[in-house]
Each structure stands twice: as structure tokens, then as C-alpha cells.
Amino acid sequence: MAPTRTDRIGELDPAPPKFGLAEWIDQQTGKLFVLPAVIILLTFAIFPLLVSAYLSLTKFKLVAGGFDLRYVGLRNFKKLFFGSQQYHLLGTFDAFGPFEWAVFVTVIAAVVFWFWRFFTGGAFNVAGLVGRLISASLLVALTWLILATVFGGYPGSLVVTLFYVFVGVGVQFCIGLGLALLCGQAIRGRNAFRIIFFIPLMVTPVGIAYMFRMLADMQRGPLAYVWQWFGLGEFSWAADPWTARLVVLIGDTWQWVPFMFIVLLAAIENMPRDQLEAAKIDGAGGWQIFRDITWPSIAPVAATIVLIRLIEAFKIIDLPNVLTNGGPGIATESLTLHSFIAWRTQDLGGSAAVGYTLLFVSTITCVSFFNFIGQRTRKTEA
């Protein structure tokens, strides 16, 4: 941290510091610089967060001249997780087949192995144990949920959100990295590509949603002849849950690849050149160079942008709301959209409860990623 002003001046100027009223006021105003930001965040983030927590425990009713809140305890959450709204948040379950059991057991085994490494690794501490327990239980619960709903059952908004987040971020990262690696080579027109590839990031998500609705139209869109060629002219992607989700994912990917691309390209361009040339002289292959030189030097940046994307991806609403209106049925509804729909039907308690579910899942996921994956890339760099 930068030393305080008074310390520095003491070093430079041996004369005794002045103690006037004007100086004292100046000192205090300096301290007040951070106050507006803190007050705004308290008013618009922390206070609403607490009120939301209370709302999620109440039943909201409009009465003449205002509204009425009645405390109902955890009933809103109970309704979402076990009651009449379970299909909406979690989905409809299907019994496990052999495939589901195999995957589930593999995940459990991986978690057990991870804990075993932690206990025998010599770095045991209580905070680490609690953190790992929280992360592991969320992982196991979500794995069970995905396995129970995706194959056979019907996924609810939580699983759909996870699909957008993990599949989306994964695909965007891979495409972005690939383009950045190609563009980072000594080719002409690099700047033109950089500018063009950057554009989608800045386009309004609502606009993107309509754009892809037009493009994906099987009869009147630009690809109509292609669909007819495949005999799919009468097929409607909007009526099938997975194709609808896929179109949302494509729109999201179109928008967010540029972010990955532009930051990874900067990281690749900042790499030390000498190591790379030495490796080439030694006759290292492309894959070898990537694995041993490029990847270790861009891994910290990669971890950071994946974290930033994870944080933002959990908030997705514009695309599913406009592109498919959450449909068919609830097939493309994200958690934020689910919460909005509950709000629109005057179910404020349920809306807040869905919001809090999102808050817990996204916070635990992002913190886990930061602690258990993000930190590791930094260590390998050092």
C-alpha cells in the first residue's frame, strides 16, 4: 500500500507539520473521498440485499393504498424446492439409470479423492475444510440435479441457468482462445480482425435476441435454403426445448466470444518472445509450444476472465426473455427470468426466494472457482 501523505512529507520535509484548522479540515475531506461510493452501495446494494432476504421470508399482498407483508418463514423456499413450484426451479425428476449412476459415482469418487488429498496434503485447516465442504456439497447436489432432470426428466430454471453458464462459458472460452491464438501469429490485417471481432460485445443483448430470431427463422431467414436442402423447412426450433436453448446459447456466444478473444490476444501478445523463438529453433511442435510456453503464461489471465464471465453469465435474462420468451413452456427460462416472472404475478416472496437461490449458487460457484482453480494458475506462474 502507498504510504500515507503525512509519512511521506515527514521524510521529505524535516520542518514540523502544521496543525491549523484548515489543514485538519483538508485531512478529513481527503478521508471523505470514499464516502459517497460507500453510501451509494449501502443504499443500492446492501440495504436491498437485507430487505430481499426479509421479502423472501414473507408473503406479499397488495391492499388498498399500499402493500402488506406477512412473515411465513421458509415457506417460499419450501414451495420452490419441494412443493408446487419444484418443477419450475429444479425440474421434473427421472429415476437414475446405469449411465446416471456411473456418472454420479464418478463425481462422488472424485470429491472423496479431493478430500483425501486435502487431509493427507499437510495443509489442513478448519476454514479450508468448511470451504471445501460447502463447495463439494453444492457440486454433488447440482450433479444429482442435472443427472435427474436432463436425461429423461425435465430441467427447471436452475439447471437451464447452469447450462447457459457452464456450456456457454466453456464454448466461448474455447472459440475465443482459438481465435486469439490464430490472430496472435505474424499475419497481416491483425488489427482489422481485432476491431471487427470486438463489435458483438458492444451490441445490445435485446438487439442480439431479435437478430438471432430473424436469422434462425427456418422459412424466411437467410439460411432457409439450407434448411430446405436438409428437409427441415417445416421444423420449428422454438417448439423443441433443446434447440430453443441452443439458439439462446448461440446468441450468447456470439456476444461474448469477443471478450475472451480480446483479452487473451492481449495476453498472448505480451508473452516474452525469446522463449518462443528458442523453442522454435529447437524444433518444438505447435502443440508442445502451446502446452509448455503459451498456456502457462496466459493461464492467470484465462482464470480471471473465466471468473468475470461466470459472474456475469449467472445474470442472463435479456436473451431468453426476448428470443424465446422463456418458452417453449419454461424450457429456456433462466433464474433471473424466473424471478422476474414471479414478480410480475405479484409473488414478491417467491421472486426474492428465487433471487436468493441464484445468489447462493452463483456466489459459491464463483468463490469456489477462484479459490480452487483460479489460485492454482497463479501458483504455477510464480
Binding site: F33, I40, L41, M202, G207, T304, I308, I311, L335
Partner: protein, 348 residues
Amino acid sequence: MRERSFFQRLFEPPSLTEMAPASKLLTYAILIGWTIVVLFPLYWVLITSFKLPFQVNDGPDFIPFIDYQPSGHAWRYIFVELGNDTLRPYLNSIIIALTSTVLAVIIGSLAAYALVRIQYNVKIGTIAGFIVLLGATVYSINRFGTPWHLTAAIALALFFFFATSFGRYFKRALKNNDILFWIISNRILPPVVAVLPIYLMFQRVGLLDTHVAMIATYMAVNLPIVVWLMRDFFAGIPIDLEESAEIDGASRIRIFATIVLPLARPGLAATFLLVLILAWNEYLLALFISTADAQTMPLLVAAQNATRGPQWWYMSVLIVIMIAPIVLMTILLQKHIARGLMVGAVKG
């Protein structure tokens, strides 16, 4: 130099710094392929905005003047017949995005600068005491009906009494990094959790669907980003100039306004552009807080679906006028905007 066969020339790089022709070709093919993926949707929206309804419904036409005769009917409808219904949201968007961005950049820069240059030492005990007294104040006003100014005055007096007398017994304190982390971590908070109480709050004070409410909310959600980016820019400014101004007797605010801000101009530009675009594109908060008077462009575009069914020609016009300024800005100022992203991401 030995003679190389055709295939060798195709697949082997001629020198260490150059690429083999085959891999060069493949690279260009992929990059140009992605260029088409990026540009074609934008092109399609642009040409659709010049189509007549029957031209859209008859199936895909690709090239204006050859496949179909472009017409400005949709543009005329949006700008002349709808007139104010289009211009009002457009003006709202401009006012709200610009004002909230300017405010967020000013307040965020102040905080970021202070977190770089001034040591803070906020005792946890002080915060806890403040919260307890605040809770007690609210409770006693609601429960016992005590007059609010009297209660607040007593609580403030108690707070200062305790802070000065017992404050030094609390050792644990929040340092600059803790404050910074707290400010940035607000970004993890899903907006949908915060927006319900914000909605009720504005409803109580009668500010729903006004510019003030929109500007205040947008400013608040973008503040963490400003603090995060500007902190890195300020940290890169050498302290010497500020110190000499300090010795000359300049006040904190003067130093900040006349020395630090001019030096941080590139960073300010990058942050400003990035936040401006975020505010311009924002959808969820507008969905809750504005309904008619303060409606912004994203809402207008999204509402096309509900009111008139998919009338693509009109929609395309709206999308074009909404994204054209952003795309132009991106192309012209790409370097500055990307710098904002880079600082945030590369330094973590």
C-alpha cells in the same frame, strides 16, 4: 540449399518468423469465416430494415437492388408516424446513460483515488456499533413512536460517545484492500436480488418511472466497475507530482482535480466508454423501474414482440438506430474501450 518439393514448400515454414503457406491459408480461412459470423447478422438487420413486408415474408433476399428494391417505409413509419414514441425512449436512453455514467465515473474515481493514496483504518467495532444503533433507532421510532429527529440525535451522540471512549479497545480494522474487495464484490450480487427492494423504495417515495430513479440505480450498479478499473489507472501514476503540490500547500481536492485527473485521462476515457455502453444496453433494471415516461430503448425494442408480433422491418429499424452509435463508437475508439477491459482482466 537443397531443392524442396511442392509439398514441402506447402507445409514447411520458409523461416522461423514466417508461417507455412498451408497453415497461413487455414488461419486466414478461419479468421475470415469468423468475420462473416460477426458481420452477417448486422448486415442482415440493416437490409431487413429496408425491406417491405412481402419481401420479408416471401423468403430470404440477400442483396439490395438486385434481389429486391429497398424501401424506406419502415424508417418513415418509425420516425414520422410513431415520431415521439420512438424519440422519447431514445432521448431517455441518452440522458440516463450519459448522466449516470458521468456521476458513476466522478464518484468512483474519487473513491478509487482515495483507496490508492489514503490509508483507511475502519474499526470493525465502530461499524458494528453504528449498525446496532441504527437498528435501535429504527426500532424505537417504529415501535414506540418517538420523534425521529430526537431519536436520531440521541443515537448520533451515543455513537460518538462510544466511538471515542471504547473505540480503542477494538483492534480488528478494515484496511484499504478490504474496502476495495467489498466494493468490487458487489458486482457478484445478481441485480434481480437488489431490484425488488429498490422498486419498493422508489415506489414509496413516488419516483418510479422517473429519470432520477433510473440514473441513481444505473450509477449504483456501475460504480464497482469504475472503482475497480480506475484504481489500477491511479496506481500507475507516480506520486512525486502530488507530493510537490502538497508541499506548495494545495488541498486534496485541488491536487485531485488539477494534477491527478489530467494524468489519468486515458483511463478515464476507457472507463467512461465501457460504463456508458453498459448503461446504454441495460435491460433488467429498466424492466422493473421504468414503465412509460422513463422507458429506454432496450425496453422499446423488446416490447415490439408483445404489441405487434414479429414485424421485422420495424424491429430492424429500431435495432439499427440503437446499435449504430455503439458500433461506430466501437470501431473508432476500439483501442480505448479494449484498454478498460484489459486493465480489469489482466491485472485481476
